[in-house]
């Protein structure tokens, strides 16, 4: 298998006042090398939780990982020493583009200082292991070259001046370009971008996403991209994975995802997109309470094809086409395409 990332059977809960919220239920998820995968689903379905689990930054005091594995580039991240994860996985092999470029910069340091701190620990030239005692001058200047070059590549004007500015002196679009540059600087194998453009003006969202896609493709970097927006996901992703209420339900190449959805939830989701033919059609019913989720396929209370089997047992993934996997007992047969 040439997967870069393979999440298998991952089960995560959060301790809350009203009990354990079962936020991820035996989730399977994979990303191939150089592949751009969109993780889509309604708000609260667990996209961010999955992304943070891969990064290893779930809130330590409330999150409980009770089963599963996260295999990345031949290592099981859940079995690794936490220090090792921080030094050579996070920020090195896997980098992160945050949702909100406004608040993700520290307001009291210049942009240059913040990038420098990142490079001090995470430059491709940094010696692996426990991290730097000192930031050697030779590496500092080669790192600076690297930074300036990349800032030009992400089309930021006058990079030298930019480095001397404070975050609040820079526009949101430019800040997100900076974030993308910072995600690329350590030359990672995987970039996790959790709704990287929701905080931005609609007019620049597309530019930023195209930039991310182009750079990732040029460098052969894989991307995990989460979004609510099926349209943008289609434009930039090679493959899509859909989640519903903490369960992965379907994963397919972007084309067949739209033309031949198989899981009933995906079908209904696509049908609910506003279209010229039928206007907006919502899915009846509502998202379950994750502290007491329905057994079996969590979509069954809202599924018109649900059977007794669906109510008892969660279906295993089954191949339903080329590179197309669905977890549905009664998959749709090519109907329902909008």
């Amino acid at each position: 298998m040439d997967d870069l990332l393979a999440v298998t059977g991952l089960t995560v809960g959060f301790a809350t006042e009203s009990g354990l919220a079962r936020v991820l239920d035996q989730v399977d998820f994979r990303i191939g090398r150089g592949e751009i995968v969109g993780l889509v689903g309604e708000s609260g379905c667990g996209k961010t939780t999955l992304a943070r689990a891969i990064l290893g930054v779930l809130p330590a005091n409330s999150a409980r990982i009770s089963a599963g594995s996260i295999e990345f580039d031949g290592r099981d991240l859940l079995q690794e020493d936490p220090d090792a994860l921080a030094t050579d996985i996070r920020g090195r092999a896997i980098t992160f583009v945050p949702q909100d470029p406004f608040s993700s910069f520290n307001p009291v340091f210049t942009i240059g200082r913040q990038i420098e701190e990142l490079m001090k620990w995470k430059s491709p030239d940094a010696e692996p292991g426990s991290g730097p005692r000192r930031y050697a001058r030779a590496r500092r200047s080669s790192d600076l070259e690297r930074v300036l070059e990349l800032l030009r590549i992400v089309q930021l004007p006058d990079p030298e001046a930019l480095l001397r500015k404070y975050p609040h002196e820079v526009s949101g679009g430019q800040r997100q370009r900076l974030m993308i540059a910072m995600a690329l600087l350590p030359e990672p194998k995987l970039i996790i971008a959790d709704e990287p453009t929701t905080a931005l003006d609609v007019t620049i969202q597309a530019q930023i996403l195209k930039l991310l896609r182009r750079l990732a493709a040029e460098r052969g970097v894989s991307v995990l991209f989460t979004t609510h927006d099926l349209g943008t996901a289609y434009e930039i992703c090679d493959r899509m994975t859909v989640m519903y209420a903490g369960q992965d339900v379907e994963s397919a190449p972007s084309d067949s995802f739209f033309t031949e959805p198989r899981h009933i939830y995906t079908v209904r989701l696509l049908q609910s997109l506003p279209s010229r033919d039928h206007g907006i059609r919502g899915i009846p019913g509502q998202v379950p309470d994750l502290t007491a989720p329905p057994p079996g396929c969590r979509f069954h209370p809202r599924c018109d094809a649900a059977s007794a089997l669906c109510r008892q047992t969660r279906p295993d993934p089954s191949d339903v086409g080329a590179g197309h996997v669905a977890r549905c007992w009664h998959p749709a047969q090519g109907e329902g395409t909008p």
């Binding site: 996070r90 920020g91 945050p98 910069f105 520290n106 620990w121 995470k122 404070y166």
Partner: protein, 352 residues
């Protein structure tokens, strides 16, 4: 809290740090004089609301009408009140606060002679509060809800509720009277070091006189601890809140998600952000400190401005009280000016 000038926006200009500090300083300095002038008018009005007759008090019961008239002329109270105010303003502008009804000496000289004692005490207390309060505040935040955090919470709540003069008396009772570990009161035994700066710690170091230094520090301990307790509580509280805010912020989340080591993030970045809030509070803390100094000096017989004020109160010396109020106001305004400037320097979002 300050006699602050309104904040302007720097608009689209993005002045450099020095420029920003300059704008701020000028802005504040412009208001410095009017604020002081206003304070002067207020204190003057206060001390003339009631036609108390301190002259009769000084002159005694047997004074003749001529003697009283002469005294009145000497202290300038024979003229109408607005004229007195005008003369007082003119005098203050030239550094003349009038003559103390009590010591019969120029008040400006009295005050200047006593200022170093108060400032030295206040500085030591501020430093003590910061050096202990900031790290403890960080610890409380980092170990939030641990027993340490709870213990420190009790400490801060107490520090903010305790009457400084009472705490001073308790410390005296225990450490000076019962245990005899520290002197009961005063600033030094004997004459003290040769005056250079007026700060005894500095002066005895300059003179290379370790014995005096030890004695000075011994006298300093109880008053400094008394003064720093509430200040420390405030600093700790704001540091803790600031650190928590920063730890829960997106930028810390980002740095941790990018694998920057936690200790680096906390001690190098979070602390810096948290301290912005703390520094803003130093002005407030300093104000409280000065206020408490009045009573703490009275308890420890510390020869500073506070003790002078207390003596002026006892002697109904309203010139002395006015001088004291003005000089306290000046010190307080200057401290707040410095706080604002340093705030502008460490927080780049603060412009103009």
């Amino acid at each position: 809290m300050t006699g602050a000038a309104p904040r302007g926006r720097a608009g689209t200009l993005q002045p450099g740090l020095e420029m920003r500090a300059l704008v701020l300083t000028v802005n504040r300095l412009v208001w410095f004089v009017p604020t002081l002038l206003g304070l002067l008018v207020i204190t003057f009005t206060i001390s003339h609301i009631i036609p108390a007759d301190p002259i009769a008090f000084i002159a005694g019961d047997n004074a003749t009408a001529e003697q009283i008239a002469a005294l009145k002329a000497k202290f300038g109270v024979d003229k109408p009140v607005p004229v007195q105010l005008w003369n007082y303003i003119l005098g203050v502008a030239q550094g003349d606060f009038g003559i103390s009804l009590y010591t019969q000496r120029p008040i400006a000289e009295d005050l200047i002679a006593r200022l170093p004692a108060t400032l030295e005490l206040a500085f030591v207390a501020v430093i003590l509060s910061g050096v202990i309060g900031i790290p403890l505040g960080v610890l409380a935040a980092v170990r939030r809800n641990s027993w340490l955090d709870h213990a420190l919470r009790v400490f801060t709540v107490s520090g903010l509720a305790i009457a400084a003069f009472w705490f001073a008396i308790l410390l005296q009772l225990l450490f000076a009277m019962k245990l005899g570990w520290t002197p009961l009161q005063g600033r030094v035994d004997g004459w003290g070091p040769d005056p250079v700066t007026g700060f005894y710690i500095v002066d005895s170091v300059l003179a290379g006189d370790l014995e005096t230094l030890a004695d000075v520090i011994g006298h300093m301990v109880l008053p400094a601890v008394t003064l720093s307790f509430p200040a420390m509580a405030t600093i700790m509280r704001f540091t803790r809140a600031g650190v928590l805010d920063a730890i829960n912020s997106n930028y810390v989340d980002y740095q941790l998600a990018m694998g920057v080591p936690r200790r680096v993030v906390v001690w190098r970045y979070v602390l810096r952000n948290a301290l912005i809030g703390t520094v803003t509070q130093v002005g407030l803390v300093f104000g409280n400190l000065i206020a408490n100094a009045v009573v703490v000096e009275a308890v420890f017989d510390w020869p500073g401005l506070g003790l002078y004020a207390v003596n002026s109160i006892l002697q109904s010396d309203y010139n002395g009280i006015m001088g004291f109020t003005l000089i306290m106001g000046t010190v307080f305004i200057i401290v707040n000016l410095l706080v604002d400037i340093s705030h502008g320097l460490i927080d780049p979002r603060e412009t103009g």
